[in-house]
Assembly symmetry: D2
Homo-oligomer: 339 residues x 4
């Protein structure tokens, strides 16, 4: 932590800060410059928010942290890349590039089974589908809830694909975990800390989506929440951030993938469906996700998008998904990956 004193800071103010720094357990190291005096504070600053409060002390211009605030999720803690096992030989973060696909919502048995068949035939290794839906309108379809989980499990049985599904509140975590192979924390819940703690107590893998206005630091802090409870099986997901651009629903931040890999050892996948919100942009962004080093994709596919209960406009038609997968397959060898 570096504390920068204001130009006219008095000796008394300076001494007060030095004393506070010591009280908080740090070793102060002042440097008197030509225009500013700065105080280097030696010690582990993480979780030591009180030091930041010195920002408000008389004579202080600013307080600048040096260390990233996350530990378990950081590359300093663990140099080799993490591999998160879904089940058997299916894992995320290794050589295999993992594609999760399926409809936004589970609607009917026929729809989810059909979806599973379609995405499996095209090469997806996991099924996605929402049973608990975080909808912006209370009047919109809210999901089939436990019934949806059962249908997902049936589809898994029939088609042989493990599935990921979203959990939206702590009390549902154990219910969802009974059925799902992987639990998704959606963008709107990235900082639902009670929910993060609850999935942190599981032994199941968690797919953590970046909040729509979250920095990468904040995404990793949310991963840290889950990991700090003992669950290290976290996969990060870039799904687009909110900007002023309105041709797309969100701006898919593809450079976030290599950036997250510089900051953390956790696997990173991309959601081009929400990342763009525009059907025609999903295939090129999917190929680009391979190129930036993503460990997988999660994509919305629906047998009949026009009739989808939700997200129809950004769901791929079966033949579009098939084409996308054949493109992705051509790209994988360039990054040394296999499906």
């Amino acid at each position: 932590m570096i504390i920068v004193m204001k130009p006219g800071a008095t000796k008394a103010q300076f001494n007060h800060i030095i004393q506070k720094v010591k009280e908080f357990g740090f070793q102060p190291h002042p440097i008197v410059g030509t225009e500013r005096t700065v105080i280097g504070c030696i010690g582990d600053e993480r979780g030591k928010e009180q030091l930041l409060a010195l920002d408000s002390a008389e004579g202080v211009e600013t307080v600048m942290p040096i260390l990233k605030p996350f530990k378990l999720a950081s590359k300093e803690m663990k140099k080799e890349r993490s591999v998160v096992t879904i089940h058997g030989d299916l894992s995320i973060g290794g050589k295999r590039f993992v594609v999760m696909a399926g409809p936004c919502s589970v609607e009917t048995r026929a729809q989810i089974v059909k979806s599973a068949e379609i995405v499996k035939a095209a090469g997806a290794q996991m099924l996605r589908g929402g049973a608990f839906k975080p909808r912006t309108s209370p009047y919109s379809f809210q999901g089939l809830e436990e019934e949806g989980l059962k249908l997902l499990a049936e589809a898994r049985e029939k088609v042989g694909l493990p599935f990921v599904t979203e959990v939206i509140t702590p009390t549902d975590v154990h219910l969802v975990a009974q059925y799902a192979d992987m639990l998704q924390i959606g963008a709107r819940n990235m900082q639902n800390f009670a929910l993060l703690k609850e999935v942190g107590k599981l032994k199941k893998p968690v797919l953590l989506k970046r909040g729509m206005s979250s920095t990468l630091n904040e995404l990793l802090m949310s991963a840290e929440y889950i990991m700090s409870q003992g669950n290290y099986s976290v996969v990060l997901c870039e799904r687009g951030i909110r900007t002023f651009e309105d041709y797309t629903r969100n701006t898919c931040d593809l450079s976030a993938v290599p950036a997250l890999k510089e900051m953390s050892h956790l696997p990173v996948i991309v959601d081009p469906s929400h990342g763009t919100g525009v059907r025609s942009l999903i295939p090129p962004v999917s190929k680009a996700a391979v190129a930036v080093g993503a460990d997988g994709l999660i994509i919305e596919v629906h047998p009949h998008p026009e009739e989808a209960f939700s997200d129809g406009a950004q769901s791929l038609l079966p033949n579009q998904f098939e084409k996308l997968m054949s493109d992705v397959k051509r790209y994988l060898p360039l990054e040394g990956r296999v499906l």
Copy 2:
């Protein structure tokens, strides 16, 4: 809803859309222009998301909704402004301008009682203080939880100020409601729909903060969630949005106050502490909040900000809050308000 066909759309594509519009229960009304054909769809479009999915049909360029998606929160539903009663003669949205103040977190009995005394002496009508804290770091102080609620209740008893406090997960709603006079939904939980539904079942007033990257439409949709469960006592709160500017922690969107009042009948207050994140900017923004027609303020005040467990750098010192209140009092008569 207006459906715009693509320039080269075929007759078959056009007929398909006309048929779909009818299937969804709307009456289509085509207009053939010089460069585009558009189809006006007559009927109540709210909650009818399937119509939006036509965006993805062949030959469709775009689908444009006409109506706002919220009903109960809208001015069309209720022309007169809502007044939310806290208790006795204290209500928000009427002639009184209501100031809620206190520390970010409840830390100790002495701290919260002292805070209550300070803010009451300066003119605040409600105490604020966090017992359940949504902290970005799992290693930061997470709040005293139920113990904090008890201390808040003690402070209320002793000092005579009702209090507002945040609830962060559905299972805590009833516990918090036993103690608090008003429940706060924080910015990070603005789209925690399970939580919104749960506070919607209460008869207690709810303070709903705008998410840091939420549009006003989305804020009102979140209010709609609460109201759709039967709880109409919702107060909206502008608390700053996330932009590229970094001198401030957030950009306080003061024009949101009159904008929300054009869109909705619900009361609106401003949180200049989070809205700016910079102590020195809180007093001017507080005065401006009066000027734009806010119904109140929520402000962080701490007896000793340098020692605060959280948000010290943006907490006002007691004498700063006193000065702010005396400024606010000078402004209120210009808007026909009283404390």
Copy 3:
């Protein structure tokens, strides 16, 4: 400047940085922490961009500047607030609150004279009107150019209001300066450095608008460009920034006013017309501008907005402007200001 070394930086890398810092004329001051080594660099870092390039040297994690990059515009350089004289006893930044008003574009003699009469009658002290218009479409009205300047001068003659008008390219600066009392640099030209240098050579006051995605630091750097050429008569203008919110055209960042006053000695005014882009929001934001300490306003007013060549939807009707001015007059005494 603080240089933070990476955790595993080698001794050779460290020595290389120390040597470079010395080569660039700074005095290095290393602090060895528990998790990082940082190097404080003593010396004036402004304009020394090469030091920043060390960011890319082997073993360096990050380089953090300590000083703001502007000098002449800073409060360190000049503690008392600047007052910019327009002419005679009309100046901006002192006790008087200066309102500039008029149409977006000069359209006809009758229109601009009528506008001048209307805004003067309501209390405005300056006329605004565009002769050179930076329009997003090449097919839109581009302004009357020199003819517009002549009409503005006629209106000044007739009505007795000095005027401000925009200049959009360096070659027009001297032409515009022949007519105008104050030259405006529009948001889109805030970083048109050739233009900034050119108005910097004048002795006329300059109204510098914040770019729509510019930080306050960048705005002040643009002021610095003008001042570095010798023209110290710069007035800053907050005119809304671009965010994701779409109810308004821009988000008017009112906290920028007191923030700029903390950073700089230059006067600051607010443009609520572009700041919100919504006619009904202009009056409340104008009052709020007084409350946050602005030194004036610039507002679009048109005798017949429905027929305006540009910006009709955000132009006030004459009676709306009259009402706004009477509201502003009630607010001014609270901030110790007069018209």
Copy 4:
């Protein structure tokens, strides 16, 4: 254009709008819905800004344009993709993927010649280098100006690469055009309309960079400015937009590439150097640019980044560029492209 009337609009207000629509040369077509009356306006709305001003008429809720505001740049005007010839057999937008590379600024003869040799050896087909530099600080190096152009021409002579260089003000356009093979309009000048018009009068190709907070619509409107003057040789460039994320300098919006190709026939290239501002992220983003269908790249490379006068921290070292080019070459065949 669709005009939506307010719920309580009177018959007189409705009639007034109908009459205005006719006056402006459009044919009104009202649809009376259950909750709103909307008026479809038939006619070419582009450049007819007065219709938008009806937004402010009594009884009108909103005015929604149907058509995109650009014509010459649109796919409706020209269905086949444009190919912009640089010289001889080098053109952008066809089968060849064109890489422009070189230092941020031209510094010395040795530096620019060396840079040209390095980038040519690695496979780049064009040299980039700034002679006129738009720097945020007036105290930073502003470029060698005409001397820089001469050095670029010498490097071209010696090494055999055509070059692109930025022009920052209309009066320099003809000077720059005497030397350069392609003129660049930088992000800060994307809406410098006087400059756009001036390069529009040339017969030389123009590289138009997206403004850092510009929508794709606005970028295409700026292309339209150039094209409306007769110069159709415009290449668009995505170079990152400004968001709240601070790990990167900008957020590179890669989905903008396929989006622009849906909207326009113009070629599109990507600038990953400014797009990310982080050296290590440039290679992955470059590969992704191929995958999303970009027609080329523009990249900063410097023989000695640590000593660069500008942008050192985001300039690639020669061997890093060589590696990047060999990666790009592996990707090109997948998109049917060649260098």
